[in-house]
C-alpha cells in the first residue's frame, strides 16, 4: 500500500512539473494581453516533432536536437504572435480568441499533413530509462530528472520576473497596458519576450513529456494544452507562482484519483474540467490571484 502510494507520488510530482512548465506559457500570455493562447498546446507538440526530426532523420546529437527544437519553437511562437495576434490587439476579444483557435487548428492539421497521423516514438538517450529502486519503488531516472529540470527553469523564471528590468516591464504591462506605454516601456517587445519565455518553457516541458510518455502524435498538444490552461486558472491566471501551484495540484489530482479509484479511469480527462468549473464558481480569481474589480 505504501509502495503504491509512493509510486503515485513520484508520478504525480513528475506530471505536475510538466503541467507547471506548460501552464506558465498560458498564464504569462494571459497576464499581458488577456488572451487564451489556444495555440500554446500545439507549440508544445511542434517542439517534440523538431527533436524527433533532428535526432532521428538528421542524425543530430540529442542535446543539439533539443537546442534546435527550443530555438525553432521560440521562432514559431513569436511568428504566431506577430502575424495572428498583434494585428488584432485593438479588435474585440472574440476576434482574437477565434484567431487563436484558428492558429491552433492550423498547426494541428498542418502537423497531420507534414508529420503524418501515425504515432512516432520519441528518441531519448538511454540514461533516462535507467531505473532506480528506492524503498522498494521502481522509479525511472526520467521521473527524477523532470522535477529537477522544472525546478531550475521555474526558479530562473521567478528571478527574471522579480529581479530584472525586463521582468519589471512585464509586470508593468500586465498591470496596466496603457500606462506602461506612457512610461516608455516598449510594449511590443515585452509581449514578444513573453512569448519567447513561454514557448521556451513549453519546448523544455515538451521534451521532458516526450521522454516520459515516449509516443508523439500531431494532436498530442490538445489535451495537455487545455489542462495546463485550467491549471493556470486554478492557480490564478496571470500569476506565475499560481500556475506552478495549479500545475502541481492538477497533476496530483489526476494521478491520485485514478490511482486510488481505478473505476474512474475513463473519466480521467474530465477531472480537469470539473476542477475548472468548481474553481470558477467558488473562487473565480484562482487560488493565488488577486481580487480584480471590473472597471466599467
Amino acid at each position: 500500500m505504501v509502495q503504491i502510494l509512493l509510486q503515485n507520488l513520484a508520478n504525480a510530482v513528475s506530471l505536475g512539473s510538466l503541467y507547471a512548465l506548460i501552464a506558465i506559457g498560458y498564464t504569462m500570455v494571459y497576464g499581458i494581453i488577456r488572451l487564451i493562447n489556444f495555440a500554446h498546446g500545439d507549440v508544445f507538440m511542434f517542439a517534440l516533432y523538431v527533436v524527433y526530426y533532428g535526432a532521428v532523420i538528421f542524425f543530430l546529437p540529442w542535446p543539439l536536437a533539443v537546442l534546435v527544437s527550443i530555438i525553432l519553437t521560440v521562432i514559431l511562437a513569436v511568428t504566431i504572435e506577430r502575424f495572428a495576434y498583434r494585428p488584432l490587439r485593438t479588435a474585440p476579444k472574440l476576434s482574437v480568441l477565434i484567431s487563436a483557435i484558428g492558429v491552433s487548428f492550423f498547426l494541428e492539421s498542418l502537423a497531420t499533413v507534414i508529420f503524418g497521423g501515425l504515432p512516432k516514438s520519441f528518441p531519448a538517450p538511454d540514461f533516462f530509462n535507467g531505473v532506480n529502486t528506492i524503498g522498494g519503488v521502481a522509479i525511472p531516472n526520467v521521473t527524477i530528472v523532470i522535477p529537477i529540470v522544472a525546478f531550475v527553469c521555474l526558479a530562473g523564471l521567478v528571478y527574471i520576473i522579480e529581479h530584472t528590468k525586463t521582468g519589471m516591464a512585464m509586470r508593468a504591462v500586465s498591470r496596466d497596458y496603457t500606462a506602461s506605454r506612457l512610461m516608455a516601456i516598449d510594449v511590443d517587445r515585452t509581449v514578444t519576450l513573453t512569448f519567447v519565455i513561454g514557448s521556451a518553457l513549453a519546448a523544455i516541458g515538451g521534451v521532458l513529456w516526450g521522454i516520459r510518455y515516449t509516443q508523439i502524435v500531431p494532436l498530442m498538444g490538445v489535451m495537455p494544452g487545455l489542462k495546463c490552461f485550467i491549471a493556470a486558472v486554478i492557480g490564478g491566471i496571470g500569476n506565475i507562482k499560481g500556475a506552478m501551484l495549479g500545475g502541481f495540484l492538477l497533476g496530483f489530482l489526476e494521478i491520485f484519483l485514478v490511482g486510488l479509484m481505478p473505476s474512474l479511469t475513463g473519466y480521467r480527462d474530465a477531472f480537469a474540467f470539473i476542477a475548472l468549473i468548481l474553481i470558477l464558481l467558488v473562487r473565480p480569481q484562482g487560488l493565488l490571484g488577486a481580487q480584480v474589480t471590473d472597471k466599467v
Partner: protein
C-alpha cells in the same frame, strides 16, 4: 390584410426555397443531393451558435456537446428494440430505454428538449462567467459530455457508438426545419427580446441600466441556441445513421464557428449562406485529401490538407475581413440596393456623410 413588401418577398423566398428543395435531387445528382441535405442541418446548427455568439456576444464553444445530446436522444428514441439489442453486445441496455421506440418527430422534439435542459444546467453556473472564461467553461462542458457518453455503456453504448439508427432525415426534414428556424430567428431577433440580446452584446452595463435582466436574458439565449444545436444534432443522427462520442469533438464546434464568422457574427442570412458554402466547400475540397498534381509533382493523398485550408480560411477571415460576408446586415432588398445598386449622387453623399459622422461618434 395588407402585407408589407418585405413580408411578401420573404414568403416568395420561402416558396422559391421549397421549389429548389423539390427539384434538388435531379438538379444536383445523388451525391451532391446528400450534401444539400447536410447543408440544411448546418443552417440550423449555425443559427443556434450565431444566436449565442453573434447576437448575444457570449462565446460558447460547447456546441458539439449539445449536438451530441440531441443526436443520442434521437438515436435512442428511434432505434427499434432489435437494433438496440444488436448494438449493445458488451453490456445490455438499460431496460427502461431498451423498450422505447417513438416516431422521428417525437424523437426530434425530445432531443431538442433534452439538449435545452442540459444547456440550462450548464448555463446556471457557466453564465456567471464572462468572455474567455465562458469560452473555456463551455468547451469544458462539451468535453465532459463527450467523456460521459464514452463511459455510460448501458445508455449510450460507450465508445462503440450506435449504428443502425433509422435514417429518417431526408431533404424535407432538414430544409423545412432550416426554413422554420430562419423564420424563428428573424422573428426572435426583431422582437424586444432580440433587441435586448443585441443590447447585451453591445454594452452589458448600459443594457443592465436599461432594465434588462442580464443573467436571465443570457440564459434564455444560451438555452435556445443550444436547443437548436440539439435539434441539428438529432437531424444529423437521422442523416448519418451511426454516431459515436468521438465524432462530436471540438472539430464540429470549430466548423460551425467558421461558418458564423465567415457569414458575419450577428447576421442570419450570412449564416445561412456560409453554412451552404462551407458544407459544399468541405465536400468539394475532398480532392485535396486524395492525390493532387501540383507543379509537376504528384502529391498522393494528403489526409488532413482540407483542414489546413479551412483553418487558414478562418484565420484569413478573422485577420483581414473581420465583418465576414454580411457583417451584422441582413440580405434584405434595402441592403442589396444600398450595397450593389447605383447610388444617386446626393444619396451617396449623405450616406458617406452619415458614415463619417458615425465614425466620429465611435471615436468619441
Amino acid at each position: 390584410m395588407k402585407l408589407s413588401r418585405n413580408t411578401l418577398l420573404a414568403l416568395a423566398a420561402i416558396v422559391v426555397a421549397l421549389v429548389v428543395v423539390f427539384f434538388a435531387r435531379p438538379l444536383l445528382g445523388q451525391f451532391w443531393f446528400g450534401i444539400f441535405t447536410l447543408a440544411g442541418i448546418f443552417v440550423t446548427l449555425a443559427l443556434g451558435l450565431n444566436l449565442i455568439n453573434g447576437f448575444t456576444g457570449l462565446f460558447s464553444l460547447g456546441h458539439a456537446g449539445f449536438m451530441a445530446v440531441g443526436a443520442y436522444t434521437v438515436a435512442i428514441c428511434t432505434m427499434s428494440p432489435d437494433a438496440k439489442k444488436q448494438n449493445f453486445f458488451l453490456e445490455p441496455m438499460n431496460p427502461l430505454l431498451a423498450g422505447i421506440q417513438t416516431p422521428f418527430w417525437v424523437a426530434l422534439i425530445l432531443g431538442t428538449a433534452v439538449a435545452a435542459l442540459a444547456a440550462w444546467l450548464v448555463a446556471i453556473p457557466a453564465l456567471r462567467l464572462r468572455d474567455d472564461y465562458l469560452a473555456i467553461a463551455t468547451l469544458g462542458f462539451g468535453e465532459i459530455i463527450r467523456v460521459v457518453f464514452s463511459n455510460t455503456q448501458s445508455i449510450t453504448n460507450g465508445a462503440q457508438g450506435l449504428i443502425r439508427i433509422p435514417t429518417e432525415t431526408n431533404v424535407w426534414w432538414s430544409w423545412c426545419i432550416a426554413i422554420l428556424m430562419i423564420v424563428f430567428m428573424v422573428r426572435l431577433v426583431g422582437s424586444s427580446f432580440g433587441r435586448s440580446l443585441k443590447a447585451i452584446r453591445d454594452d452589458e452595463v448600459a443594457a443592465e441600466a436599461m432594465g434588462i435582466n442580464l443573467y436571465r436574458t443570457k440564459i434564455t439565449s444560451f438555452v435556445i441556441g443550444s436547443a437548436m444545436a440539439g435539434l441539428g444534432g438529432g437531424l444529423l443522427a437521422g442523416f448519418l445513421g451511426s454516431i459515436d462520442p468521438k465524432m462530436f469533438n471540438f472539430l464540429y464546434t470549430f466548423n460551425i464557428v467558421l461558418i458564423i464568422v465567415l457569414g458575419g457574427l450577428g447576421s442570419i442570412s450570412g449564416s445561412v449562406i456560409a453554412a451552404v458554402v462551407i458544407t459544399f466547400g468541405m465536400e468539394w475540397l475532398r480532392f485535396l485529401d486524395g492525390s493532387v498534381e501540383a507543379f509537376g509533382y504528384k502529391i498522393s493523398g494528403v489526409p488532413g490538407l482540407r483542414m489546413v485550408v479551412f483553418s487558414a480560411l478562418l484565420l484569413a477571415v478573422v485577420l483581414f475581413w473581420r465583418e465576414g460576408l454580411m457583417g451584422k446586415n441582413e440580405l434584405t432588398p434595402d441592403y442589396v440596393k444600398r450595397r450593389f445598386g447605383r447610388k444617386p449622387k446626393v444619396a451617396a453623399a449623405t450616406a458617406s456623410a452619415s458614415t463619417t459622422s458615425k465614425k466620429g461618434d465611435a471615436d468619441a
